[in-house]
């Protein structure tokens, strides 16, 4: 009966139409394949955003260092591919390595409260970036470890790693488009499942009052670490996808603080702790970034400085959101809905008297 009622509402139909549209995009060739690329990026970023949200939104542990997992996923795939492993097979491993690394530093760091955990994650993020940047030089003199080097390269330092490109790149890109779309739906499904499960309830309890949660039987240490590992796994897989799509990775991009910032900004602006928030946030992020970057293509040398405008915008948005609507876009929408209900409800009341 619930399904019948749901079908009567217009929302699922619009959603289905939208999904069909997305499926059609690659064959449509809109804007010479540009829309396809944009959608692909959006799928990736929605997945990233959703992954971060599980730890940052559901469990309430704000991490400014999630780029570590993205980078680890990317590098795991890149390193393995360069040694002959089929790319797709590296994906689960990429996620797993990210998750294990999460456990390694997460277990001690998650004992820290809110803001201190956040600071620690900045430290870990930067430390990992430096480590990966210099790893080749660090191990080349170590007789036991330098067996990992291939032509003197493991991580490739600042120059990064380059992956072999396939022959038919456009069908490859289309394949990735659908793959990323599938991944995104999987991630959303996982997020939805967590939100409605006992696990999710525990995470929300930890978020709202960790001491109370602990005394009421929630194993807070276990749950926090589990959330971190799941989050890291999802982000790691995204990193792997990135490496396979771009064929080039370097520490500055995948391990960089800007990447971590993006992962904080998207769910926070969209609506932290909700299901739709990360989606909205990612869409806004990609669209804004795209519009601002492309708007500068013809301004020549000024392009570089103006492209930071989108971060300036996000900084401003973040400040506004924290000050006025901590629940982000989703919160705004809820407020509007309530206001609308009051307006129309009032009109109805007047009509009946």
């Amino acid at each position: 009966m619930q399904v019948q009622e749901a079908l009567r509402s217009w929302k699922p139909w619009v959603g289905l139409l939208f999904v069909l549209f997305l499926l059609w995009v690659p064959s449509s060739g809109i804007a010479g394949g540009y829309l396809q690329t944009l959608c692909f990026l959006t799928f990736l970023y929605v997945t990233l955003s959703t992954g971060w949200n599980i730890l940052g939104g559901y469990a309430g542990q704000t991490s400014f260092g999630h780029a570590t997992f993205y980078g680890l996923g990317a590098y795991t795939t890149a390193i393995l591919v360069l040694r002959g492993v089929p790319p797709l097979m590296t994906m689960p491993l990429a996620g797993l390595i990210a998750a294990l690394y999460a456990l390694l530093w997460g277990y001690p760091c998650l004992r820290l409260r809110g803001q201190y955990f956040a600071i620690a994650t900045i430290g870990v993020g930067e430390a990992t970036r430096l480590l990966m940047l210099n790893l080749d030089d660090l191990i080349k003199n170590n007789t036991w470890l330098n067996g990992f080097l291939q032509d003197g390269v493991l991580t490739g330092g600042a120059t990064g790693l380059m992956l072999p490109t396939p022959e038919n790149i456009s069908s490859y890109a289309v394949g990735f488009y659908y793959g990323a779309m599938g991944l995104m739906f999987l991630a959303l499904l996982a997020s939805w499942w967590v939100k409605n499960s006992k696990f999710g309830l525990g995470l929300f309890a930890i978020n709202m009052d960790i001491d109370a949660a602990e005394t009421i039987g929630v194993n807070t240490v276990y749950y926090k670490n589990l959330a971190l590992m799941l989050s890291a796994f999802m982000v790691g897989i995204c990193g792997s996808v990135y490496a396979q799509y771009m064929f080039y990775i370097d520490p500055q991009t995948v391990f960089g603080f800007p990447m971590s910032i993006a992962m904080v900004l998207m769910p926070t602006i969209g609506g932290i702790g909700t299901l739709a928030g990360p989606i909205l946030g990612a869409v806004v992020y990609i669209v804004v970034q795209d519009r601002i970057l492309t708007a500068n293509l013809d301004i020549g040398t000024l392009k570089l400085s103006l492209s930071s405008m989108h971060l300036l915008l996000y900084g401003g948005l973040l400040v506004l959101i924290i000050l006025f609507e901590p629940k982000g876009i989703v919160g705004l929408q809820q407020r509007l809905a309530r206001w609308w209900k009051r307006r129309t409800g009032g009109v109805m009341a007047r009509k009946t008297t």
């Binding site: 400014f64 760091c109 004992r111 900045i122 430096l130 480590l131 405008m309 401003g316 924290i322 000050l323």
Partner: protein, 293 residues
């Protein structure tokens, strides 16, 4: 390969003075308001660019610039507190963290807009000068920066110790409610404290600009170092922050002996994480990180 250890240590000590100046602003704001000021990084970076602007564009003397920068940033800090930060004082601490992060983002990207991402440096008469003392070559630049930093800290200590507002600040840091009860206007105190914190960050940035090259991304690693020092040293005592600064500066300098120079920052980042985890309640019960006592 001979490394001149005495010179290294002397250089480190001079740097420690700067580190202390840079960390105290963070410690002050945290102590009084219990919030972690991520915009500290932005303030340091703006301090560097302000120095650049005054010295290179307007031709100020390098040590006159701070005299302008400090009051300017003090005022900026008060404005930030009064109109923005104050609103989240009653929210969970993570809200103020995110807010200040947003402000840092804004500051950083305004700098990108105005100055572009190019690395800048300030060269003055003093930049290359060294003089010999006990057979060690000491950079005049660093020595002067050290002196200004120490002077500033000394003035700060006098202010905190002898003036009414200084004592009010210390009282509020210890117990906000009790301070209100004895008639201290804690709102005012927080404004002043935040202003001082930003001013110190700006000062530190303007001094660092004389020694290091910088770009808009400048504040981040120094923010982490400041936080590391604050956790190591503890609040409420200049001694604590000074010791923490000294410890870090020497650790960084000596680390060159064992690890690559490129990994020098790694020392402070790793130390920060380790210290946060291992230091129970900070050195003087500063940070209540753990729920168990």
């Amino acid at each position: 390969m001979t490394i001149d250890i005495p010179a290294l240590l002397v250089s480190a000590m001079l740097l420690a003075g700067l580190y202390a100046t840079m960390s105290f602003g963070l410690a002050l704001i945290y102590g009084v308001m219990k919030i972690v000021n991520l915009a500290h990084a932005g303030a340091m970076m703006w301090g560097a660019y302000a120095a650049f602007f005054f010295i290179v564009h307007l031709g100020f003397s390098p040590f006159l610039a701070p005299l302008v920068i400090v009051p300017l940033f003090f005022f900026l800090g008060i404005l930030m507190q009064r109109f923005i930060v104050r609103r989240v004082m009653n929210a969970p601490p993570i809200a103020s963290l995110l807010l200040l992060f947003g402000i840092w983002l804004i500051m950083q990207n305004i700098a990108y807009l105005v100055f572009s991402g190019d690395t800048r440096a300030i060269t003055t008469l003093y930049t290359m000068m060294t003089f010999q003392m006990f057979g060690i070559a000491i950079s005049v630049n660093r020595l002067l920066v050290f002196c200004v930093g120490i002077l500033a800290l000394f003035l700060l200590q006098q202010f905190l110790g002898r003036t009414y507002m200084g004592k009010a600040i210390r009282a509020t840091a210890q117990d906000g409610d009790a301070s209100k009860l004895v008639g201290i206007n804690t709102e005012r105190v927080m404004e002043i404290a935040f202003g001082l914190g930003i001013a110190l960050a700006g000062l530190a940035g303007s001094l660092m600009a004389l020694i290091f090259a910088f770009d808009p991304d400048f504040g981040r690693s120094h923010l982490l170092k400041s936080f590391c020092i604050v956790v190591l040293g503890g609040l409420g005592s200049f001694v604590g922050v000074a010791l923490g600064a000294l410890f870090l500066a020497i650790a960084e300098a000596l680390s060159v002996l064992w690890i690559m120079p490129a990994m020098q920052d790694f020392v402070s980042f790793a130390l920060l994480v380790i210290v946060l985890i291992v230091m129970p309640g900070g050195m003087m019960g500063l940070l209540e990180k753990f729920k168990k006592s």
